[in-house]
Symmetry: C2
Subunit: 725 residues, 2 copies
Amino acid sequence: MSRKGRVTIPTDENYVEGTKKIAELWGADAVRDCDGTHLPKNALEIAEKVYNTYFVVRGDNAWADNHTDELQSVLLITDPVLATKDGELVIELLKGYSKDQLCMNEENPKKYWQVFDRTTCEEVLTWDYLGDGKVKVTGVQAYHQYTVNFFAKNCWDSTQMYNYITNNWNIEKHKVMEPRFEATFEHIKDNMRKWCENNKNVNVCRYTTFLYHFFLVFDERNEQKHVDWFGYPMTASPRAFDAFEKEYGYEIKSEDIVANGTYHSHYTNPTKKFLDYMEFTEKYVTKTVRELVDIVHAEGKEAMMFLGDSWIGTEPYGDYFKDMNLDAVVGSVGGGVTVRMLSEIPHVKYHEGRFLPYFFPDTFFEGNEGPAIAELNRNWVTARRAMLRKPLDRMGFGGYLQLAAEFPGFIQRAAEICDEFRDICDAAGDAKPYCGATVAVLNSWGKKRSWMGHMVAHELWYQMAYSYQGVYEALSGLGVDVKFISFDDILKNGIEKDIDVIINVGDEGTAFSGGEYWNNPELVTMLRKWVAEGHGLIGVGEPTAYQKGGRLFQLADVLGVDEEKGFTLSENKYNIEKKAHFITADTTSEIDYGEGKKNVYALKGAEVLDIEISDRFIRNVNVGEVKLAANQYGKGRGVYIAGLPYNPQNSRMLLRAIFWSCNKEKEMQKAFSTNAVTDCAYYPATGKYAIINNTDQEQKTVFYDVNGKAEEMTLKPNSVAWRNA
Amino acid sequence: MSRKGRVTIPTDENYVEGTKKIAELWGADAVRDCDGTHLPKNALEIAEKVYNTYFVVRGDNAWADNHTDELQSVLLITDPVLATKDGELVIELLKGYSKDQLCMNEENPKKYWQVFDRTTCEEVLTWDYLGDGKVKVTGVQAYHQYTVNFFAKNCWDSTQMYNYITNNWNIEKHKVMEPRFEATFEHIKDNMRKWCENNKNVNVCRYTTFLYHFFLVFDERNEQKHVDWFGYPMTASPRAFDAFEKEYGYEIKSEDIVANGTYHSHYTNPTKKFLDYMEFTEKYVTKTVRELVDIVHAEGKEAMMFLGDSWIGTEPYGDYFKDMNLDAVVGSVGGGVTVRMLSEIPHVKYHEGRFLPYFFPDTFFEGNEGPAIAELNRNWVTARRAMLRKPLDRMGFGGYLQLAAEFPGFIQRAAEICDEFRDICDAAGDAKPYCGATVAVLNSWGKKRSWMGHMVAHELWYQMAYSYQGVYEALSGLGVDVKFISFDDILKNGIEKDIDVIINVGDEGTAFSGGEYWNNPELVTMLRKWVAEGHGLIGVGEPTAYQKGGRLFQLADVLGVDEEKGFTLSENKYNIEKKAHFITADTTSEIDYGEGKKNVYALKGAEVLDIEISDRFIRNVNVGEVKLAANQYGKGRGVYIAGLPYNPQNSRMLLRAIFWSCNKEKEMQKAFSTNAVTDCAYYPATGKYAIINNTDQEQKTVFYDVNGKAEEMTLKPNSVAWRNA
């Protein structure tokens, strides 16, 4: 197998010889610069590919300071302010916001801002901007609360501000230019051309990133106030609103984006207007970036997008992304979900992942080689499950290579991982691995936010997220095909023929479970029919939740469970006996449902697989807290799971639920490894099987090939074993 | 103090002499019969008062069997039935219901029944009754669910059925007559007259109870299917519907009561139509019972109502109860709440509580004297806190006195308790004890369901109830005045001047927290203003919950907390530091919030008194789970508590929250006992203080009189200590 290529390493002008040695060992064919490092002049002598980071809109303070009217805006809402008497109320707009980051955008407030009585939810028109960041509202009513939606100027790039504060930097604060101003956009293009001229030694422009930062504003103490990796408020500006009206034929209002202070977060069902606004922004970002990419391409360089920072409006799974004509995407790898989120992005030539640990002094200090290697292994093994399903094309590291070089054991282990990575790429080829079933995750976002569900602030382990995010993490490495579909998709086009199982996961009212969509009988009956005909529905958390017709879960009949909200407490629930089942056959320890769900009970006929019953209740009036249930529905089946944080046992349980729900139990033991802390992938195109051990301990397992032939195996810690068909 | 009177004991024709001896010892002045016992002929020689149980509508099978058209009805809904293809669907109405209890009422189905498509929530008119308990629906759509609301006949009294099944009886099954039929009502009155004639030895008619049983139907296995102590479906019948239309000028429909299968339970916000129907029923029950009471009174006997069994339509705190002209109510005492629920019923001359244990062989068997005494003490001590605030006028026991007589220690302890009870009655007199503050519980029911909030199936320890029911149990014995007010009350008449603190307790959407009421800005602003002027608002669970304007808790600003539902996860919550506070000053062990609430976070400025933070979350993106918070709001204050099951520590915490929230901290230490397992009451009219020990261990405490003068005290187990002003 190949022992060179597909690997990017950081370098520095002071560490050329060391870079060459490690590049040789790791088979690296690309080098990159990082925060605090500079490419050597002769970088192309070290590697075939040389990446240089590039900021499109930030850091050109010379221009920004001379064009303060052409800085970026951000659309904000004030905290609700209480009127304590009838009459007038003065609201300080930037109260609670960082004065270092934000200042007022005073352009035509009466046109672009809005005042709301949040107690009645009605817009208030009797107000004036007093200047100096203050709005006076007249005709207010005592003990109503009022808010102002307003535009501020974004005077400090959010990411730089974060790094600056976190690392106690003392450097120039990057201002952010708005490309919707013609002069600024021309200047941006000039900058791009100049960069090309000045960087002949670079053949990949690594954009970090493009035009608009994800929504990240700081509070008066310069701590993070609002951070939404999917948020659009930093794309909004008077210019954008004007352009929207011209293009879409109707006026977009601040509240269409602010939406009661939820800012139409990822968790909120998008409205038609908000979807229009997203599309409008995507089209603008695409068209604008394309002009820059064309400049780069004209110089024979590649254009690479970093999926982070100012990625808003790119929507890599959207309809416009392809028109940017990018060559590559790169992103940080946190686990299997981020691998698949990156590796499946369409319309680019290659996908790269930056692995952990980052070569910074917080990990690479004297005596810390063991933990550094452990982090390397953990990161690699977590990601590898997903790599087996759909590998990235390239991997890389970031930081100060010189620091890593101090740990020879680390350098050695990384070299092995680079080889293993190339082996996987070779085995997988361009063809799909074998999939025993096809699963579709159904939510309001569908394909547009593939692999992005329940992500808050960058795939952090987040309350109200991790119990659901584990579903995607499990799926990222399971031997099934995974699709993301939206309610609108299936309402318009029906359910694709190849889908075996649909998963609906999330809390009541969110974009992930679907909220108001479940008020649509067409959706409800379509899914009932589809399941009854022999398919599977898996619900996690509060699936299909919408209070109507005496039910919270509109597909309670399919799932076999509903959630008690207090209105039917008087109806006794007798189905509380726990039964053994195919789904829980590999369960060896108590199941972790994460935050789980309270007050879910089983309907008659459903099979209860796990239930929590408090000693505090009298048996025959107990509501029960069903955590896991299975239900036959016509020829199909429903499964309910209260929550599914990622761990190997839960991942296996989900796999079993998938095969059981679509009546394919007998198909599960094909290209399969019995031990739940292992995974198996089969590549029909190359005839290879990979069996991986996801732990740092030796594991015994039984491997079944695609014909069901068994082999007992012992897997070394963290290892991958290969078999030929 | 008096050593005779206020006590009722059970007797039996075979145990006259024993009864006399115990009556003497306990100072009993009344005897009663029970299930399985009969009054002696000369009962009036044993006691001044002789009670005899009386059933109004059940047990007269001779009449019932000859008037099968005049049996009671019950309004039911079928389980939802799925249509698997377009066309016809046949629904079996009594499927899942007890055939022993119920049979069809086939009177004019097209007039009284309704069929619904529960998938669209629309009524379906294309159906026919096929006879034999089957409805054929035509024009059904595939994969929609259908239900039928229909009338069944109630062929077996629910309570008798329960006792019969529980005790394996083999006796005649009591049928239930419907007094809305003229002939039957005349017969019921005849029965009453005959009873008076035949029971000259009885001077109290103890009705068990009147006309309509609380909603209790059994399933196909004769297990309880639906049990709602507040439910009205057993009052409904074609006759009742006809009468309603005549009286109210509009047609009441089955769905107005069935309400998606919730049957307008106690937890559901009542609709205008449902309130009309309740009032209609109350008026009918009152008028009908009054005729019976008049017969009893004409014979010089008293009329006593047992608050249980067939109490529906009496609503003792309603507007019509007084017109029944009853002399007394009696009920089972489970704790402080049931004491107050009984003792505060207006318009009767006296209130009696039946204490535990019941003298049945399950407790009174050889060698079990210790546990029997323990149960007696526990029941008495739990109830006594409430008795100090508003004593019952009488107490009693039930069962076979002869069994209790086998335990001399029990008889002795009961005698002491009877004395203690009389002491309390004497000290309390008719005047109110001293109250340091006035508290009002605010919900959709208000005064009409005083002390009845969060009761499910008879004050059982119930999921989704006990964490809130503890609030009422705590209040029942605290040194504060307690009122029950409804949203309609305060919207119409404002908040009464004497109220210091309002408590809103319950889950989102229920009648207890208020649901849609919180969509009314008038209510929201009225309470904000009222608190800001110097009053207190205490919210427990999901107080003021209604998703609107970016908030779940509409009074989040007052309470200082809101509940995250996922839409503002991206807004960082920094207020997570726990602070010491007046409210938690007596807390010595971990606070029990019962089922508690998830994802509640503190707003800026609120004081967090208790919070749960999982190790699973990264600090600066943590939502936090605030369990207890305090918040200054203008001159007033808000307090949030996640849940409050009853225990002494929680009760004390609630007391402190009450005094703190209305700025009366300094008033708390008046007529007060410091030890949280003790309580203190002061009777200004008689100048007496009672200090009680609620445990079976000796307790030290500091007693403060109403002037703040302190005295260190040691209280014997279960004891009451008296002091004079």
